[in-house]
Symmetry: C2
Subunit: 360 residues, 2 copies
DNA sequence: CTGAAAGCGCTTACAG
DNA sequence: CTGAAAGCGCTTACAG
């Protein structure tokens, strides 16, 4: 094999099978590799004509810096970890799947990327520690925060940057988070139902104790207070099971009487409400209003009015809080919108047109 | 600031705020850093007692190699890209979200990790090229393959490793893929319905032309042939819209007569079928059998029998095909299972117990 | 404004 | 079997 010529390494940068490096660009532009780096990272430090020449070659050779070399030198991964978990008993909605996608979409705008990782359920913190220690990420995006969540505590103690989608319930003042205002979303739904002519408005929610559920329920209660309703308004509780939700909704309907509507803490509960309405021989929308929460694909399929979370905006905000810590230090609470469909429209005219309505 | 002492860098490795490196381990174990590297990567080349001493220090100091340093030196990212797309008009089911999670769960077993990326929809290939050029990934996991998909072509041309979840329809012989046998899944559903006593079995599917849909439909046709049904069996077509699916299912029911069942190409179509059954004043399961496809959370909520894809197994197989290319070179077709629920049970006895039934 | 030097943390031939 | 040398591709002070 007469490979010595090859080994001299004097081939044109185009013909090599290997990757294009900063040196290839430097040679092509007739400058040192430091100048190429400066042109890319600190353009103001480079003479205008040199800059232009370098950038032209960068373009022509389609040079893309090698990420690991940058990471190693900068001691920064420009990446953040996002915990995922196998579904098993997944909730309806997959809001978190959508959030992951939107985080990924917004990542390049912040010169970052997203690393999915699945920690061992028996030692979640170990998964975070390991991922961080590998240098693959600079910090984390948390989701699915809950009471007594060990993660914020650990991250704060170790000075690890993070942002949370969902309030950090135990110490909301301490940390950066972005959340959707469930209270406002449900309040808007109550106002919409009242304006649509439903007289009685009941609540179908989860057993109290879940911070998210309790927050949404307060939105309903405040909505009733705003309408001047006093005394015992009918409510019902159910876990995430359609049959149980249906039963709870039927009992709720009995207590609500005519001209009633039901606001639900989730689309799955609303599915139970829809079924209960039909079991009573009634028509959702025309006879009984039903509103869900999360605006899942199922809500769209079932013509169910539902509170819509601005997930893409939440993802963009999460990046802002994480990558530009100066920009906003306060927590961010986003306003949901109400996607109105046939299940909350009394007139039959345009019952199958769906529209997005901002809460007043 | 009397920081000169600090600059001498003679502090114990424990007390430094900085990361633990291979040198810290070497010093602690009294060997050179090369030996630590060998102990970790080529243990057979290290004397047993040295090995033990080194590994003990690795453990004690919780040393985790810096990923970018490894990647740079090895010229390998040990990571693979997975394309995600903002939902918009998402299908019911989110099988791909589940696949992403399962890929992430299986990644550590292959000493790899998964990078999510969202290419520009107007130039998907550019997104793949860019992600590859950055050195962040060694290859890709494809999903959602379709006819005239430009990605396999481009990847093959550039010698980029990849595996696909879903057949590479245009050149199945050329590439590595893992898929779920939709034909077998629907065939199993037909057999189950026949065994349950439904006499007429219709098909509710998508307009022909989609390779996935056509494959599933053939499973239904072959099932009928197996049962000795000849002539024109009733079918109906619908796109992914619940109202349209309901209408199509109602017409299908009229043609099927009594003792009928409907096999559907998706859970959403099955939702339409369920609604059509109720619109006819009938009860799903008891009067008309309905089977969906994908076993989504909605199927579980609605007590809908559905064909279940072994997504976790598909993810593990994808890693095998990608990371250990020697292990299996042939495409892999996995058998789905049938999750039986009330919608395909005629007796009312245990109508709400769900069971998983392997196809015969 | 430009380039020579140093170094991020690791692995891989290669001497000893 | 162990360690000294080289180098992956890049960036950042720092001379000139």
């Amino acid at each position: 094999m007469g490979s010595t010529a090859k080994e001299r390494g004097v081939q044109a940068e185009e013909s090599r099978g290997a990757r294009t490096t900063i040196v290839d660009v430097a040679v092509a532009a007739g400058v040192s590799r430091q100048t190429v780096s400066n042109a890319l990272n600190r353009p103001h430090k480079v003479a205008p004509d040199t800059l232009e020449r370098v950038l032209r070659e960068v373009e022509r050779l389609r040079f893309t810096p090698h990420a690991s070399a940058q990471q190693l030198r900068r001691q920064r991964a420009s990446a953040f970890g996002f915990e995922v978990n196998p579904s098993g008993h997944r909730r309806l909605g997959h809001i978190l799947d959508e959030f992951l996608v939107e985080l990924t979409v917004s990542a390049p705008a912040h010169a970052s990327h997203l690393l999915a990782f699945a920690p061992d359920p028996d030692d979640v913190i170990a998964g975070y520690r390991q991922t961080l220690a590998s240098g693959l990420v600079d910090g984390f995006v948390l989701a699915d925060t809950r009471h007594a969540d060990p993660r914020p505590q650990w991250l704060i103690e170790h000075g690890v940057p993070f942002v949370s989608f969902g309030r950090v319930w135990d110490r909301p003042e301490l940390t950066r988070w972005v959340d959707v205002d469930g209270h406002a979303g449900v309040l808007g739904a109550v106002r919409h139902l009242a304006a649509s002519g439903y007289e009685q408005i009941g609540w179908l929610g989860w057993p109290s104790g879940s911070p998210v559920g309790d927050d949404r329920r307060r939105g309903w209660a405040d909505g009733l207070a705003e309408l001047g309703v006093t005394g015992e308004a009918p409510t019902a509780e159910s876990v995430q099971d359609l049959d149980e939700a249906t039963g709870a909704a039927e009992r709720l309907l009995d207590r609500l009487g005519t001209d009633a509507a039901i606001v639900c803490a989730s689309d799955l509960l609303a599915l139970g409400a829809l079924r209960a309405v039909r079991n009573h021989g009634l028509e959702p929308g025309r006879d009984v209003g039903v509103v869900g929460f999360d605006d899942t694909d199922v809500a769209a399929a079932m013509q169910l009015t539902s509170v819509h979370q601005p997930v893409a905006e939440a993802a963009r905000t999460a990046w802002d809080l994480l990558v530009d810590p100066e920009s906003t230090s306060a927590p961010v609470l986003l306003e949901p919108t109400l996607t109105v469909r046939a299940s909350s429209i009394r007139e039959t005219s345009d019952a199958d047109s769906s529209a997005v309505l901002d809460p007043p």
